[in-house]
Symmetry: D3
């Protein structure tokens, strides 16, 4: 492994604390928490940004919407870590065991709402040709009930995970085995 995962005990206290909290909640430490921790300043900024977007309370996007954006755009970027990890969380939030695979392979054929389809179309454009986003794209969003603040959320989540995708792919980050199965079996669907 080119960039070995650091030992948890060697990390700054604030990072250790947050990682232990995640471990307690999830039952394991998602690799991204350790993989980025070798550079504490980057780690802190990364997770502060992540939380600002993914935990934002006043957002017009549900948590399921947000994970759906992550899964679709990460698949467009061929990022193994993010598709597997966030696909798992998407299945759990949406309580749909099949939706992550659908959205990752071809979001146009996924079993999602027309509103979610418009959301993903916008996210894919920000992901793949942000320079060409224009008024017509915002109007399409508005027609599905999204505000400009929602558009910002869609774009910012796409942009942030584009960063995450590149870091994970370039460094060979591997998803924890636990993610592959999470949310696929109805009984375990309750987080």
């Amino acid at each position: 492994m080119r960039y070995p995962l650091p030992d948890l005990n060697s990390l700054p206290a604030d990072i250790q604390a947050k990682i232990l909290e995640v471990q307690e909640k999830s039952g394991f430490i998602p690799n991204v928490f350790l993989a980025l921790a070798r550079r504490p300043a980057e780690w802190r900024a990364f997770f502060a940004y992540h939380d600002a977007l993914m935990l934002r309370e006043e957002s017009g996007l549900t948590k399921g919407d947000r994970e759906m954006i992550v899964t679709a755009t990460s698949a467009a970027n061929h990022c193994l870590y993010c598709v597997v990890a966030h696909g798992a969380i998407l299945r759990i939030y949406e309580k749909k065991p099949m939706v992550a695979d659908q959205v990752a392979i071809n979001h146009r054929k996924a079993d999602i709402s027309p509103r979610q389809l418009a959301m993903l179309d916008f996210a894919m454009k920000v992901c793949q040709s942000s320079h060409a986003v224009d008024n017509a794209d915002f109007e399409t969003l508005h027609a599905h009930g999204f505000s400009d603040e929602d558009a910002w959320d869609i774009a910012a989540i796409t942009a942030f995970f584009g960063l995450s995708n590149r870091m994970a792919s370039f460094s060979g980050m591997e998803p924890n085995p636990e993610f592959y199965l999470m949310g696929r079996i109805p009984k375990t669907k309750n987080t």
Copy 2:
């Protein structure tokens, strides 16, 4: 303007302070500082990440190298704000009034060192097909004297500004007029 710039006085104190500091140093407030400030939590994470990468002292990349990566990859993403703003800083750091235009239009023909060319080739691959980065890419970097830590710096700067490019383009962020001329005239080259 879809997302109007907030009034400086309406911003949280820590953000105001940092913006005033930048204004004092630069003589003007670069628009990205105001454009993102409408969402303080995102603003703080964005600039913390920026500083972690661009001000990192132990890096094997010079500040000029880093701005060169930003300029080249932002041009690949057709991001007006970042090419103009970071092209300006690149000219100043490298003390080369023509290098930013060269790197933005076709980095292969730019008047840069073979080491910088290899650096930009790697950055462009992370920018455009990070999923295909492989050992051969790292070996090419090593052959030019870059360590794996340097590779991380190149990739992380590319990834971070990929985020920045998407935010600027989707929201229509405009570069301040001051940037266009900065570093182009030999006399004013000293920051």
Copy 3:
């Protein structure tokens, strides 16, 4: 649904018989068997071709290799049906619950052998730019122990599922829900 699935009882006897045989073996009727059956002559040719390639006994490719080719190239074609259905069979043959997702998202980062990686690289080239296949591609295969007959198998499977991908995507064929979970849970891994 644009092309409704025909009633099993309305189908020609030979097709009914084969479908019932599959149902008995799998526990359900994979949708492709019904979706194509509305045109019996095409159905017969499709499955004859499928069996000629996928059940070919003298092949140098294992059944797992073959399903891996299908999964990787179907993902490149964004075919929901084939990725989900053949990803399931791949997991079972390879006894690796995570391999299908890995191969579908980014085959370069999958936990597979160097020989399988070379096999997939060749398949992807046949899938995406068959006109550019040249001697160097065959030599790379030979270096990994593949014969020209094996190359034919790789290419023919890729070509056949390229057909299948287009039929499934254009017509909106949906994978049976059963496929999504098959081969993911260690205990049920034995077919």
Copy 4:
């Protein structure tokens, strides 16, 4: 030649019989008949599929329409064998000595009907991005008088020859010299 053409006499009787029949009708044996015959099971499936689509009597597509689809999509795939061989048949069926070259080089500028142009636009989308086919594409076809069964014909022919293109290109199949001139000289236009 990597995959030498088998001797006609070495082939199974049913394949020999069909090939001799073709030879009698055409005056020569098109290379695809021999090139694929080295694998009899694949040969039988290939030609059964071919005939199911190209000889289908109840189709709303004329035989000329079908060869036009083959020529246009094979050109998009840069398949020398199929463009030359099926271009020849297209010229004969349509009684237009120039149409094959037009359709192969740029179908938008070809001297064909608006209905045929819509047919080729749909075929090209199935050929190049079948995952993005949507209702609007079917509606465009309907506006030109095509039924959903006709759409299936267009898509299936495109998909089948996508298979054929990949087999021909990967294996270096060469068109018989006879095809290049067929249907180009008015007098010999009657089949």
Copy 5:
């Protein structure tokens, strides 16, 4: 330098005369005049074509419009010489110190008129997929007040500089340092 610039005195008299005239007017000899002069017949045709398009008096395009087309399409072709040299002239004609960088990086976000935006959209289509230009593209031009003669001008300028871009890039032609700063400083804007 692979193709060294010829000595001015070694050139045919007509070429010398024209180059001296340009030098007198501009204060320096733009490299393209010397770089192409090693082949006098090509030089004469190149500049005759250039002048026929760029100096055409009856055109509905202003000189600024024309340089804008050159700058935008040359950037799409990543041609360092043409973006820098014609960007300079564009700044001067339009009296806008920032317009060249804007048009080169992302013409959609440039501070130009809707008419100029439509002009550049057409030019970019001719540049990147001329085979797909159709009636709808001309209608869009007409809606912005362009005639078919104007369309010819836009297309011909794009096509001519596509030639120029390829010559400059393949041969490594470098822009004269003077161009980088021309038209950027308000006072010196009058040529």
Copy 6:
């Protein structure tokens, strides 16, 4: 027809004279001569450039080589006029009735010399990504016996016909029917 062909008698005397000369030699007037004549200054520059490249006597490229470059790159640009017209001339010069179709559809599979294949590879790179041409490309040419002057010829022909392709496609120029058959029948092969 958007840009009607002008009446021969209405054209300037020098243009008339050259067109009549071509008509006498070829037996018909190739449409490009009339289509461009509506703008005499552009016509003169176009044909002066054409002749400088295609009739250049000291070139290391044969006339067949040059037409081969035109045919291959014009096919890459999907230009109907140029592929059909120059494919005809290519057949005649090379005395190979099949070579134009081969080169247009997939130059890698054409029956040409390794030297010609290297020539077309270089031409295709100039055509499609001239900004990425580098020393390695020249070294490959040198290894096949091409000088830097030959490289200039290859690049300039490619660049000039890229201009021609865009003019023909945007304006809907149609090849004369005579071209389609020229050089296809052995007996008429002598020009």
